[in-house]
């Protein structure tokens, strides 16, 4: 009423004064790079005229002077001033300010103002993250946060990712703990990126300690989007892209192949120089193919992402519902490398009274993967596509007696029936196209994930809140794998029941299993947040948590299906002999109590302490409980009086923290000795260890946050030391006493990680060209400090790696390359004790103990599998309606064992090779890097540094150009079109297919694809 009076008076005054001629109505839209912004405060500069943008970012201000300036301000965004200049429509694009100090960051079970945080917590810039358009939200973290290493296991759709926060803390499970809306989980592949509102990474022990027993691998807190009271909104986000394989090795063609193998044949003992090799003879054959197996295997892949959401609400209730689809058909031919995911999400928050709030956030997702053998050997399609000789065609000649329409693929080289066998000149390999064609391996997961909560505020100022949260994670999985019989028949005994069947999947079989897993997390917290006398800020939290997890599975299989077409790929239609069925279950539970307290004085001094006590079903009575304390402090130096004059420093904060986290990721009942009396053999399956206890990670962190020029430039540095003691590890007991059984879990030793992390953020929004740079780099040193006497070293992979005190975990171990023997006297002088058939042209290994022979004693550490440096550089900018951004990401100081190189270029069997073998040693002085071609051992069969390659890389992960329309098309409130490229280029010395793969031993991995994406974002 009072406002109306004033309004009328002002109106009257303006009319009377005639200034109405220069006053106008201004309409507009406020948005950021990801869409409209509601609730933005818009103030006419120098007046009291204020308005707020609605849920669609729309605003209208009447009677504005045409020379006025509008001030747009919104929490978490840089304030922006735009002169009206007579425009009736203003399109305001705000840039988020990730460094804003009053930003609220979600921390364990509560939230804190960024300024009061004393641990190493990084909140993720969601704008930058959203540009990496991948299926898994976790993968989009790549390059975004210092000290967070992310890598895709393979490039095959749905194959999962690996995340390490601050290095490999243990030899066992290092996985990150995700907490999605208060519900802990180890896997977030069910989430759709556009549902994520914020992510914070808790890197140090102080920040993670509140999650105690499971936080040792670091914690990523994720909050999903919720509805906001105001006008309802409907958003659609769609993109589609095409994918290609890149960086493929150059292989020999048929002509080169036959030439190279001819040379190898002549360099093989027993073959006379004058003799004509079978390869030379075959060069005259007309029936040889010239197959480029990579061209045959790879094709263009397609990805599609669609997400629609509706949200809105009133003061009493807010809602958001969304549905999404992500689908990708990978870069391998046919449709057997597909991943599809459907998501549905409902978020409702209701204020039952001004003290009592309830809500739910429920997500349904259904993911299905068509799984190919995307890495490894037996039978990895990538590996076989590379090793298979080009002389073999993809399809058999139609006149070949073993040809059939349903199985037209070549298999064993020039196979001519069981009695004649196959040509020995061309090595046994599998036809990758046949494998792809006959693979039918479907993995489906149906998941319900979410929570229900109630929150009640006590006390007159509502400063004490009780919150009860029930998290559910229910998964149903269904895997179905039909192994179709294919390939050449190679049984020549007609009485054998499998006579005449192809050699793969003999007989055909169907394996099907269904599992269910249910995890309930029930947490209750009491949180007191209060500021007293504007000086003392207090945040106290006590709580309990109770996690129970139960899973079970049943499965069945049958063989010998008469009819193998799709409608008969069900268990009922298999033979009734050799029926298998299986069933199993496993349960665990965790009970926890925790407390934390933060005290701040005058916004200058902050101290936080937490304590968590966990009891786990996985430990025996002796060590059931683990206790995980932490303490941290911060000092905002810039708030001190003596800093007042240093006005270019807007923020300077020093942080220090210490804390302990735990790890309980061992099998259920690892402490018990278990016996299976029904198996074959019956007996002890594993000896238990009653004294096994929690693995503890103790971490100390020192950090500094610096903001310069009103935080336009901000800088964060951290130094951490992380020591994991009592690492949970299995040891093989002496076989002499126990035979060969499962390994026993022990607390085996200590591993340390230390490193520096630097983050830099620069933003400039002062001009029409606005930009934001977000760079980060982290170093890491991993070292095994000690191992118990009975685990002197750990050869987790028996032949390639070794874990020993003083070395990084799982370091590569083998012979050291020392050139190529150039002549016979060099061989005899080096290998004076036992040359073991070594010839000139063979690889020369370092004889470390100088005993004149090469044997296992000459092996040493030859490579480090843990990256020493990880970095990311994100740039985003806008100019008028255009926006442009890119992300560079890379790792340095990491090696990988390129086992593919071994089988391609160093094997003694006639597989295909890369063109690198064209430079092989062929007489004294011809090469000191590539040994002679031969079918004998030229040293290439040994595990050696020849195959350890620098797998450092720099990759342009994404580059995106967008255009936001500022016209109001009927019914459309916001419209942005963008084009994006992913994995556009990679700089690396690694000669394998993908330096990013996570395999310790790269046997040929489905590569990350390059892709081009077009997308649209619309708001109705």
């Amino acid at each position: 009423m009072r406002k109306n009076i004033i309004y009328n008076i002002v109106l009257l005054w303006t009319i009377l004064s005639g200034s109405a001629l220069c006053a106008q109505t201004v309409k507009g839209v406020v948005s950021d790079s990801s869409g409209p912004l509601p609730q933005v405060n818009i103030n006419v500069k120098g007046t009291a005229i204020n308005t707020v943008s609605d849920f669609d970012g729309n605003f209208t201000i009447n009677k504005v002077d045409s020379n006025a300036v509008l001030i747009f301000s919104y929490i978490g965004y840089l304030t922006k001033e735009i002169p009206v200049k007579g425009n009736s429509f203003i399109n305001a694009i705000l840039t988020s300010d990730s460094q804003k100090l009053d930003e609220v960051v979600v921390v364990g079970y509560t939230s804190q103002k960024k300024a009061s945080i004393t641990g190493a917590v990084s909140s993720v810039n969601m704008d930058d993250l959203s540009k990496t358009r991948v299926a898994d939200v976790g993968q989009a973290l790549q390059g975004q946060v210092a000290g967070v290493f992310v890598s895709a296991n393979t490039g095959a759709p749905g194959d999962g990712i690996k995340i390490r926060i601050r290095g490999e803390g243990t030899l066992g499970n290092n996985d990150v703990l995700y907490v999605v809306d208060g519900v802990p989980t180890r896997d977030i592949s069910f989430l759709n990126q556009s549902d994520v509102k914020s992510m914070s990474v808790l890197k140090d022990a102080a920040a993670g300690a509140i999650y105690g027993s499971r936080a040792a691998g670091g914690v990523v807190l994720i909050t999903t989007k919720a509805g906001i009271s105001g006008k309802s909104s409907f958003d659609v986000d769609y993109y589609s892209g095409i994918h290609y394989a890149t960086n493929l090795p150059k292989m020999l063609n048929t002509d080169q192949y036959l030439m190279v193998k001819d040379q190898a044949w002549h360099n093989t003992a027993g073959n006379a120089a004058s003799a004509i090799s079978p390869y030379a003879a075959d060069r005259n054959r007309t029936d040889l193919a010239n197959t480029n197996w990579q061209d045959e295997l790879f094709t263009t892949g397609i990805s599609k992402n669609f997400q629609a959401s509706a949200s809105g609400g009133s003061e009493k209730m807010q809602y958001l519902i969304s549905g999404g689809y992500f689908g990708q058909d990978g870069i391998v031919v046919e449709n057997n490398d597909k991943y599809q995911r459907f998501n549905f999400r409902t978020n409702i928050n209701a204020n039952l009274s001004d003290r009592f709030k309830v809500g739910t956030n429920l997500q349904l997702s259904y993911a299905k993967q068509d799984k190919l053998s995307s890495s490894g050997d037996a039978p990895g399609i990538i590996r076989h596509a590379l090793i298979r000789p080009p002389v073999l065609a993809v399809y058999k000649d139609i006149n070949d007696p073993t040809y059939s329409a349903s199985n037209p693929y070549t298999d064993l080289p020039f196979y001519t029936g069981p009695n004649d066998g196959w040509s020995k000149n061309y090595e046994y390999s599998s036809n990758p196209i046949a494998i792809v064609h006959f693979t039918d391996d479907k993995r489906n997961t149906f998941q319900t994930f979410g929570n229900l909560y109630g929150e009640y505020a006590f006390l007159s100022d509502k400063s004490l809140k009780f919150r009860s949260n029930l998290g559910v994670d229910i998964q149903f999985s269904h895997n179905k794998n039909f192994g179709e019989n294919f390939g050449d028949a190679n049984i020549n005994d007609p009485s054998n029941p499998y006579y005449g069947m192809g050699r793969n999947n003999r007989p055909n079989s169907l394996n099907e299993n269904r599992g269910e897993a249910m995890t309930f997390t029930f947490s209750n917290t009491l949180n007191y947040i209060k500021t007293i006398n504007e000086k003392h800020t207090i945040n106290l939290l006590v709580g309990s948590e109770n996690i129970t997890s139960k899973s079970s599975a049943i499965g069945g299989s049958r063989q010998s299906f008469d009819n193998t077409t799709d409608p008969f790929r069900y268990l009922d239609y298999g033979s009734t002999t050799n029926i298998y069925s299986s069933g199993s279950a496993s349960n665990w539970s965790l009970l926890s109590f925790f407390a934390s307290g933060t005290y701040g004085y005058a916004n200058k001094y902050f101290v936080t302490s937490t304590m968590r006590a966990d009891a786990s079903s996985r430990f025996g009575a002796n060590n059931k409980w683990g206790y995980f304390p932490s303490v941290s402090g911060g000092w905002v130096v810039s708030k001190e009086n003596f800093m007042e004059k240093v006005d270019w420093i807007s923020n300077l904060k020093l942080r220090a923290s210490w804390g302990q986290n735990g790890n309980q990721e061992i099998p259920n009942n690892a402490y018990q000795t278990i016996v299976d009396v029904t198996s074959d053999p019956p007996g002890v399956k594993r000896y238990g260890n009653e004294d096994i206890k929690w693995e503890t990670t103790t971490q100390t962190n020192f950090g500094v946050d610096l903001g310069i020029l009103k935080n336009k430039l901000s800088f964060t540095a951290d130094y951490f030391t992380k020591k994991t003691s009592d690492i949970l590890l299995t040891v093989g007991l002496p076989a002499v006493a126990v035979g060969v059984i499962d390994r026993t879990f022990v607390n085996a030793g200590e591993v340390s990680n230390k490193g520096f992390e630097f983050g830099l953020n620069l933003q400039n929004n002062d001009h029409a060209f606005k930009y934001n740079v977000n760079a980060n780099i982290a170093t890491l040193t991993n070292r095994v400090n000690k191992l118990q006497t009975f685990v002197k070293n750990i050869t987790d992979d028996a032949t390639h790696t070794k874990t020993e005190v003083g070395q990084p975990i799982s370091s590569y171990y083998g012979f050291q390359f020392d050139g190529i023997y150039q002549n016979a006297s060099e061989v005899s002088s080096t290998l004076f004790a036992n040359a073991n058939g070594t010839q000139p042209g063979d690889i020369k290994f370092k004889d470390l103990n100088r005993d004149g022979q090469i044997n296992a004693d000459d092996r040493t550490f030859i490579g480090n599998p843990i990256p020493k440096v990880t970095y990311g550089f994100a740039f985003s900018s806008s100019y008028k309606n255009f926006d442009f951004s890119f992300l560079l990401q890379g790792v340095e100081g990491v090696d990988r064992y390129n086992d593919l190189k071994q089988i391609l270029n160093y094997d003694s069997r006639p597989f295909n090779s890369t063109t690198a073998v064209l430079n092989s040693w062929n007489g004294e002085g011809t090469s000191n890097t590539t040994p002679r071609l031969t079918f004998n051992n030229n040293g290439g069969g040994n595990v050696s540094s020849v195959f350890v390659e620098d797998a450092s890389y720099l990759r342009l992960k994404n580059l995106e150009i967008g255009y936001t329309f500022n016209t109001e098309i009927a019914g459309i409130k916001y419209l942005r079109l963008y084009a994006s490229g992913q994995n556009l280029f990679t700089v690396t010395k690694y000669t394998g297919l993908d330096p990013e793969s996570t395999s310790l031993i790269d046997k040929g991995t489905y590569p990350q694809s390059q892709s081009f994406i077009l997308g649209i974002k619309v708001k109705l």
């Binding site: 029904t678 019956p682 006493a737």
Partner: protein
């Protein structure tokens, strides 16, 4: 408001109380050691013994999936006793595949080589299973608890004592002093306590005393069971007693034991190959102990060594092929060099089973011809030269009267009888060459060479760098490491 507060706290506490029980969970589908030891079943007893045979099989991947480097894909007899000797090569053509086998072949191996590792682990895995079986079978109340008959119990126990002595025989002859473990360990700490090497004399004593027990427990017939001919028989026990006496040079004991075998019905087959042919299994006269392989069994029971044969593994050395006397039919029955078929290992003469990882071919461990030659050796050592020569000629006669693999009759003059002699060394030399021809590719050669003290001379002449330390294989480094150093290494490694 206060009520609500109290209610919610109460609810929270209640939920916690209910959870406490779940913090102790019994393993699903598995029992604890105490439960298993107090309530064994008949099925457990039978399986305890039958599973103890498995380590003698050539089934692939019994102990680990495709652990080639660790020597665990199949048991390493052929590598440690034949490839290491002058008889066998790794493959028909040399290459870089499985370099650890090359190391065994040319004596550059160290304690990390997969060969000794596999040998050791197969034997001790067998001993562990046997110890568990013996512990159960010797429980005072086992008959009442499980309902097993006394006769069956005795038979199983007899088999178990034999198998334990067989595994220890392999260990003591390859490694010398070895830990003598005779009961299952109860805790993981105990596993470290027992990993201490015992003097080989004690091991031999235990082998012999176990065999005495076994002999008394097994039925007095050629087969322990007419329906399960694969089981250890009294003949197997006696043969191993004779072999143990031979290896410990108790010459006087050997002939009588070998004679006992004849009494049980063992004799030489008319055709040399009948001991190996898949079609003659358990119908021949000669095989005393073998592992029964079967195709398409569930769980798998096939001979997997035929798969590496298909990949070109296990080839004769030129020296071995040249060592046969003219027209000796045993040469082609052992190996068909023209077609690269190791007939004796395939159990066929036409390449059948080659490449099949689930072949029916039995693995023969002891046969009567072998035992006869032990007797000949003992007779020679004790001065009964004519007796020794008679046995050698018996073996030669069977060989030359065998229809060849090509279906022909060996020409007259093939493998003529050895003439009378009283020169012990001459007869020993005949014996040595007879054993090589008769028992080629049967895992005897390297043990024989070591036993006769001629390994260094023969293998050096063959171009290998055999040193004195190689009389014993090294204790696997992984075991020394796993024992935290309580296991000691053999000298020289």
């Amino acid at each position: 408001m206060k009520n609500l507060f109290k209610t919610s706290i109460l609810l929270g506490l209640l939920s916690l109380a209910s959870c406490q029980d779940e913090l102790t969970q019994d393993p699903i589908g598995l029992t604890t050691l105490e439960q298993a030891n107090t309530t064994p079943t008949l099925n457990t007893l039978e399986k305890s013994v039958s599973s103890s045979y498995q380590l003698l099989s050539n089934r692939l991947n019994i102990l680990a999936e495709w652990d080639w480097g660790g020597g665990l894909v199949f048991q390493n007899d052929y590598i440690m006793q034949d490839i290491a000797s002058d008889d066998m090569e790794k493959k028909w053509s040399s290459d870089g595949d499985q370099p650890w086998i090359d190391e065994i072949n040319n004596f550059t191996f160290t304690s990390t080589n997969g060969g000794p590792n596999g040998l050791w682990k197969y034997d001790y895995e067998g001993i562990k299973r046997i110890n568990a079986a013996i512990e159960l079978l010797t429980k005072a109340d086992i008959e009442t608890v499980t309902g097993i008959t006394t006769a069956r119990k005795n038979q199983l126990l007899g088999e178990a004592y034999f198998l334990r002595s067989y595994y220890y025989f392999s260990l003591v002859t390859n490694f010398g002093d070895v830990p003598l473990i005779l009961a299952p360990v109860k805790t993981y700490q105990e596993a470290f306590d027992v990993a201490v090497r015992a003097d080989k004399g004690l091991v031999w004593d235990k082998i012999k005393s176990d065999l005495v027990l076994a002999k008394a427990l097994l039925p007095n017939s050629k087969y322990s069971s007419p329906t399960e001919k694969w089981r250890v028989s009294k003949g197997a026990v006696i043969a191993l007693q004779a072999k143990a006496a031979l290896y410990t040079e108790k010459w006087a004991e050997v002939p009588a034991l070998v004679d006992e075998l004849a009494g049980l019905g063992f004799s030489l087959n008319a055709n040399y190959f009948d001991s190996f042919s898949t079609s003659k299994e358990y119908t021949d006269n000669e095989v005393i102990f073998s592992y029964d392989h079967q195709s398409n069994a569930t769980p798998r029971k096939g001979n997997g060594i035929c798969a590496p044969l298909g990949w070109g593994f296990f080839a004769p050395s030129t020296d071995f092929l040249n060592s046969f006397e003219p027209n000796d039919p045993r040469k082609l029955y052992t190996v068909d060099a023209a077609n690269q078929n190791v007939n004796k290992m395939l159990g066929s003469l036409d390449g059948a089973n080659k490449g099949n990882d689930d072949a029916p071919t039995n693995k023969v461990y002891m046969r009567y011809a072998d035992a006869l030659l032990w007797k000949a050796e003992a007779l020679n050592e004790t001065g009964n030269y004519s007796g020794a020569i008679a046995i050698i000629n018996q073996i030669r006669a069977r060989a030359r009267t065998t229809v060849t693999a090509l279906g022909t009759i060996p020409p007259v003059g093939t493998l003529p009888d050895r003439v009378a002699s009283t020169d012990k060394a001459t007869i020993k030399a005949w014996l040595i060459s007879e054993r090589r021809a008769e028992l080629g590719f049967e895992n005897q050669r390297m043990l024989d060479l070591k036993r006769w003290g001629i390994a260094k001379a023969v293998l050096t002449a063959h171009g290998k760098s055999f040193q004195d330390k190689h009389m014993l294989y090294p204790i696997p480094q992984s075991e020394i490491d796993a024992s935290a150093g309580t296991l000691t290494q053999n000298p020289g490694y």
